[in-house]
């Protein structure tokens, strides 16, 4: 019974964002990576499952996905250049060839310049995103939680006074 109670509390925290700054940062980092990668690849879904199974906060993950998904197409030129460079980088050619032989890996479309570029860019952005989110949640987390948990009665009582 305790386990169920704790799970319910965790679930509410997961959804409402009452987790720790680490979990919020992790969620945002995963969200940015998943959001950047084009969705016709298997990669965002695999990373998404990993994010769900991790301690990452799902709300910040969702916010990260939406934000990154919106800005991702604008970064296509940059991600294409990054991906193309990596995919045609001679020392890595044998790695790509080996990967391409692995069944199911083709669905990741890792040989697509934008997919590879967004994966690399996402991976690069993940650490600063995590750090920044953690810092922000530490400094402003209390106020955000207070604002989030503000009683709905305040507004009605004000109205009554007026």
């Amino acid at each position: 019974m305790d386990a169920i109670q704790q799970s319910w509390t965790s679930f509410k925290g997961t959804v409402r964002g009452f987790d720790t700054p680490h979990q919020l940062g992790l969620g945002m980092a995963f969200g940015i990576v998943v959001g950047l990668i084009p969705k016709d690849s298997l990669l965002p879904y695999v990373i998404g499952v990993i994010a769900i199974l991790s301690t990452a906060n799902l709300l910040s993950f969702g916010i990260g996905v939406i934000v990154a998904h919106v800005i991702s197409p604008a970064l296509d030129h940059l991600t294409h250049l990054i991906g193309s460079w990596f995919l045609t980088f001679s020392p890595l050619e044998s790695v790509w060839a080996t990967l391409s032989e692995i069944p199911l890996l083709g669905w990741t479309r890792f040989n697509n310049s934008v997919v590879m570029g967004t994966l690399i860019l996402g991976a690069l952005l993940a650490v600063p995103t995590y750090t920044m989110t953690r810092m922000v949640s530490r400094s402003a987390g209390g106020r955000i939680v207070s604002w989030w948990k503000r009683p709905a009665l305040d507004s009605s009582s004000t109205t009554t006074q007026v």
Binding site: I52, L53, T55, D76, S84, N112, V114
Partner: protein, 583 residues
């Protein structure tokens, strides 16, 4: 709170997501398939139902419609149903390989229904065929007229011929001669009478005057003999003249016969030009429709670079070095059963298609269609679309075992126009090939059960009368062959045609016309012969008889003169002997 307490609710979330995905697998598959095709083609895809069984490796699509990305009013293809067997192992490599499949009521290029339409429908003429080549029948007709060797059908007036003129001259001459001869006969008869008198005097013996008349008679006899010989000479001369005149008439007759034969000639038709004139329209139609069919087949498998308008694709798929490139989608074999339009006619077709792919350049074999079309007409079709080379190579071979053209008009009303009866049958083999933009090929046509009728013929070539004469000849033509050679590119198609129709037509018509002209010539020659025989017969009957009579009279007189000379000589000898006795 333990370390893993966060996990159960998340597993529940994942479980719920998985359950939702499993429950809506068909809808998700449908969405993935639809989105994939739409992204790749740029056209709108409608699928009423999609069922996918990865375990059984089967895919079922119902009422599949793919709109033409470049024509919102038209569907690129639509099929009532499609049962597809796919290779599940290929899915691991992100490949869709259809190993076998069936489609029913597959149709290409159909107009979109009002429910499918995103824009108001613009009605386009479905039957219209591309005008790849223009007909030049009128031009060929004028060329034919210009090159015609015109017939000379002006009959000769017998009175103006040499024979008649010679006859006139000779008859006039002999009329005169006959009068002269009659006079000579009278003179000769008078001479004969005078000789008879002399002979009578000679019979009266002891005539004391004998010596006196003998002296006078000798000189008279000399005169008579001279005259007789003169007339005999004239007779001989006239005989020679008669022979010369007969020869002159014969020569005039021969010259006239030659003139008559040359002056009445039949219309000479050139086979090659006739073929061009009569079949230009028909062959242009065949070329237009064949090229149209060829283009239709080329468009059946859409050219990805030209016909599709893929939605903006993110990034570039980079070919990994050392890895063999494989097509994303490959239909190895699919049974096609559907409808289409060929030569402006509706066809139900069935058959197989092989090696259809979204990346045909990665395959070793060309996309191939082997179809049997059945409708009002039958056709066997083999079409190959080869994208394995640098230049696209397409070929189509269509065999129509018994094509019926219906009633057709051949030629042009300004020159010569024929009607081809509707009972015709044509065995046609269309064999076209394109390499890049260049199109080449042949169309072989074998026409049988042909019934031709000459409707109109330019007055310059003989008009209605000649047309009637021709109709007697064209019935002999019941079949002919044609070979059309096509070359050119997408912008300009040219064709050359060869056919034995023109030659057969010319042979039949020339034979008929010559026979008729020959009859007219023979009639004139017969008239001429009759005239000649009449004149020669007249000469021979009248002049010869007269000359013979004259000759007989001359001979008789000659005998009389000889007898009298003999008597005179005897009397002179007796007188000489008497004188010698007295001495």
């Amino acid at each position: 709170m333990s370390r893993w307490t966060y996990l159960p609710p998340r597993l529940v979330i994942l479980g719920l997501i998985s359950l939702a995905l499993w429950a809506s697998a068909d809808q998700i598959s449908q969405m993935i398939v639809v989105r994939s095709i739409e992204n790749r083609t740029g056209g709108k895809v409608d699928v009423a139902q999609l069922r996918c069984s990865i375990g059984n490796q089967k895919l079922y699509l119902k009422e599949l419609v793919l709109s033409d990305p470049k024509d919102a009013n038209r569907n690129l293809l639509q099929a009532d149903m499609a049962y597809l067997d796919f290779d599940a192992s290929a899915l691991w490599r992100r490949q869709l390989v259809i190993t076998d499949g069936q489609t029913s009521r597959l149709m290409f290029g159909t107009p979109r229904s009002s429910a499918q339409l995103t824009q108001p429908f613009e009605n386009k003429d479905e039957d219209s065929t591309g005008n790849w080549v223009a007909s030049a029948t009128e031009k060929h007709g004028q060329e034919w007229l210009d090159s015609l060797v015109l017939p000379n059908n002006q009959p000769n007036e017998i009175a103006e011929l040499q024979t008649a003129q010679a006859n006139q001259r000779i008859v006039a001459f002999w009329d005169q001669q006959l009068q002269q001869m009659a006079k000579n006969v009278v003179d000769i008869k008078k001479l004969a009478a005078e000789l008879n008198q002399l002979a009578a005097k000679d019979q009266s013996a002891d005539n004391p005057l004998r010596r006196r008349w003998q002296g006078a008679s000798n000189s008279r006899l000399q005169q008579m003999q001279t005259k007789n010989k003169n007339v005999a000479g004239q007779v001989e001369s006239l005989r020679k003249q008669l022979r010369n005149d007969v020869i002159a008439i014969e020569q005039a007759h021969d010259a006239d016969a030659k003139k008559i034969s040359g002056s009445m000639t039949a219309l000479e038709l050139d086979g090659e030009q006739l073929s061009d004139l009569l079949l230009e329209d028909l062959h242009a139609d065949f070329v237009n429709q064949s090229v149209e069919m060829f283009q239709w087949f080329r468009n059946v498998r859409p050219e990805i670079s030209d016909d599709f308008a893929p939605k903006s694709k993110r990034g570039v798929d980079i070919q990994i070095k050392g890895r063999f490139a494989e097509p994303t989608c490959w239909v190895k074999k699919i049974e096609i059963n559907g409808e289409g339009r060929l030569l402006g006619q509706h066809f139900d077709f069935s058959g197989n298609a092989y090696n259809l792919s979204t990346e045909p350049e990665l395959l070793d074999e060309p996309a191939t269609f082997e179809l049997h079309a059945q409708g009002k007409q039958h056709a066997a079709i083999v079409c190959k679309l080869d994208r394995t080379q640098a230049d696209p190579i397409d070929s189509v071979k269509i065999t129509f075992p018994e094509l019926n053209l219906g009633e057709r008009t051949l030629g042009h009303k300004n020159s010569m126009q024929l009607t081809l009866g509707d009972s015709n049958k044509v065995f046609a083999v269309v064999d076209l090939k394109s390499v890049g933009e260049q199109i080449s090929g042949t169309i072989k046509l074998r026409y049988s059960d042909i019934a031709l009728h000459v409707d109109s013929l330019n007055d310059f070539a003989g008009g209605r009368v000649a047309a009637l004469q021709m109709n007697a000849g064209v019935t002999a033509i019941d079949s002919f062959d044609s070979l059309i050679t096509i070359s050119g590119d997408q912008n300009k198609i040219v064709f050359e045609s060869q056919s034995d129709l023109g030659q057969r037509f010319a042979t039949a018509i020339n034979h008929s016309l010559k026979r008729r002209t020959g009859n007219a010539v023979q009639q004139q020659l017969d008239e001429l012969q009759t005239l000649k025989k009449q004149v020669v017969g007249q000469l021979q009957s009248q002049v010869e008889i007269q000359l013979e009579r004259l000759q007989q009279a001359i001979s008789s007189n000659q005998t009389r003169i000889a007898n009298l000379e003999a008597v005179t000589q005897t009397n002179t000898d007796q007188e000489l002997r008497k004188l010698r006795r007295f001495e």
